[in-house]
Chain length 417, copies 2
């Protein structure tokens, strides 16, 4: 297995050079072919997907899992549209920034280049295969894709389309490689190859990600979970607060930027919490509160210590009454996950203080945590979210799949000392 895996990584490394010398036009041409082929060759895709679905049913996958796995003509056409959106993004590679002239006349600046080879490890949804591959190709990176075992036939069929499209444009088909094996050992081997692979992005459950971090010799960009907080300050506009707190919890509870803990400033708790609780009740949200919350909203569940750490991803919310900004920040620092936190307030100083002091990857004033997303931020795409404070922090777009090299333009300068 070792040699085989090393061969895959070695091919990716060669392919990255081939992709590097291709211009934007060639990369976009590949993506256009991918978008076309997805629709044209959908019968083959659907056949492969049907086999995955049948195997999944036999294995006893949940209905939700089977739904995530399922492809149909509509979903395939959405995938193709997603690829076309990536085509329309500007190519980040080659941009020169911060060119300035040193006292000795040297011009020193930075030029954006691809990272090189990216390994993406993800779970059952086959659309991630196309999404990740298009973003990596657009940014000039070779990519090795390792999806979930449940989707292996669908992913290999998608991989075939990707390689064929590369080939048609005269590029190395190994720019995108879908791992054919579902053995765990294959990933373990890949994670040791730091001389071939520049970055690993695991997307999935906390357990998967922790395992990747533990085994990897290659830098990993990841977020374990999103325990997002909203702090409703005493100077909040309560109408705004109610709309935002409702939206952040119920609009799509199963995603990482949904609110999991609501912190309410003591002076407004008596007014705000009963009104908010009524809205949550109507929306089917179960509340788990601290003692002071329970005093104001009788009948809610008492929260345990574990609730403050919890990422429910469900219609459940932990609620705590705090005495102002300082304890709110202290709570976030202790229990937070560095994902997204918001303050709701009309007070300028406290808004600015919250923004300055809370160092989560997204910090908001008077907005729903649900906006924490590459598309919403105008990055044009999102390959994932990082809560590691290295390379990228927060939603990662195309630019985060690149790095800058230094470019130095001289006219014969030598160094004196």
């Amino acid at each position: 297995m070792g040699t085989e895996i090393q061969e895959i990584a070695g091919k990716a490394r060669m392919a990255k050079r081939n992709l590097r010398s291709a211009g934007s036009a060639a990369k976009d041409q590949v993506l256009e072919l991918v978008a076309e082929s997805l629709v044209k060759e959908q019968d083959e895709l659907l056949t492969a997907n049907a086999k995955d679905l049948a195997a999944g049913k036999k294995k006893g996958l949940s209905a939700a899992m089977l739904d995530r796995l399922k492809l149909n003509p509509e979903r395939i056409s959405d995938m193709a549209e997603g690829v076309r959106e990536v085509i329309r993004l500007p190519d980040p590679v080659g941009e020169i920034t911060r060119m300035s002239t040193r006292p000795n006349g040297l011009q020193v600046g930075r030029m954006r280049i691809p990272l090189g080879v990216i390994l993406i490890i993800y779970e059952a949804r086959p659309n991630v295969t196309i999404e990740a591959a298009s973003l990596c190709l657009k940014s000039g990176n070779a990519v090795i894709l390792r999806g979930g075992a449940e989707a292996i036939r669908s992913n290999l069929a998608l991989g075939k389309i990707l390689s064929a499209s590369l080939k048609k444009v005269g590029l190395d088909p190994h720019c995108v490689q879908v791992l054919a094996t579902t053995e765990h050992k294959a990933v373990d081997e890949l994670l040791k190859l730091d001389e071939y692979i520049d970055l690993v992005i695991p997307r999935g459950g906390e357990e998967l990600i922790r395992k990747v971090v533990e085994l990897s010799r290659i830098p990993v960009l990841k977020h374990y979970k999103g325990v997002c907080h909203i702090f409703v300050d005493r100077a909040a506009d309560l109408e705004k607060a109610k709309a935002i707190c409702l939206n952040a919890k119920v609009q799509r509870p199963a995603v990482c930027n949904a609110m999991e803990t609501l912190l309410v400033d003591e002076p407004i708790a008596r007014k705000f919490l009963p009104e908010m609780s009524a809205l949550y009740k109507k929306a089917g949200v179960e509340l788990r509160g601290c003692k002071r919350m329970l005093a104001v909203v009788p009948g809610a569940q008492p929260a345990t210590e574990a609730d403050w750490y919890a990422e429910y991803l469900d219609l459940i919310l932990a609620v705590r009454v705090v005495d102002g900004l300082e304890p709110a920040i202290a709570h976030i620092q202790k229990y937070g996950s560095d994902h997204t936190e918001a303050i709701i307030t009309e007070d300028y100083s406290r808004a600015m203080e919250f923004v300055r002091r809370v160092d989560s990857s997204s910090v908001m004033v008077n907005a729903s945590t649900r906006f924490s997303d590459g598309f919403q931020y105008g990055l044009g795409a999102e390959i994932g979210i990082s809560t590691s404070r290295i390379h990228a922090y927060g939603p990662m777009g195309l630019e985060e799949l690149t790095i800058s090299k230094f470019v130095v333009l001289g006219r014969g300068q030598v160094r004196e000392k």
Copy 2:
């Protein structure tokens, strides 16, 4: 040992928050006190250093190693001046960039914040202790310093000055911690603590760095070696080429940005190489050439395959005649270390092609590779050089010790879908 080490990392993590809420003025005040104390308390420093030197002699350290270890009043005053230079740099923390307004009226931008806790592992020179600590403090990071065993007494004495200065300004003295133990196990333990430490920077020999990468669960910024190339193109101004090639090899051969391999374009080899070789001979440089080089410069050593990979760090140079730009780039891609490469040419298209295609961390036209350095690039400082294509690539200054979080300013927006 485990608990003790975890305690150190835990203290650093608490200290980073304390440092985060301190403003620029407090950080600069600490650094000013450090600069003053270095000179005022130099007797204590020199005593500690003398013990290190005595132990080193007993242990049979080389004269060069002992020299690197040695402190004297002049070197101490240089260290203090270095700290004052860091004070004069702008504080990178808090800078807001790229603030733009989304169609829904949300303002989305990025704010620069410290990475958090940095672990620096280095070898015998005690001045690295002060240099690294000042850059980490200035950028708002807590730092754990682990120097070489040979310098342990000097480093602990420097650590005392750093902690005392923090304390005097009312900051947590654990913002800088010099590891008191020289056991290797301590580092192994630290490298597992990815929940406490955000970045590891190893500075030293390739073996040390490889060990750190292998053991670390924390992202590592490093460069293994600097095998820097200069390609003298057929359209080079030979006077510039001679000056640059001499400078890049002999001005300071023991550093990572010195040239190790010279690539000469075939059409000019017959004219350029004899003249260049004469200059090298005068400077005491030993040449190891390919067959075509030996044909033009009789008497030089033949190069073996190992010479193309070699980082001599000495007055030795590998020389190869190549047939134009393509084979030059291919040679660099095969044998290079992603550190620094230069082309010498007056041809516009080939200069631009070299800059575009060679993705080393520094790419130069008509300049000595010796300029590849944070100070020379105007970064104001240098904490190290990275050839990892993640977070930072090339010389790292203060800014590379920071990351940006997203800041989102709203007026009550909620997400529709």
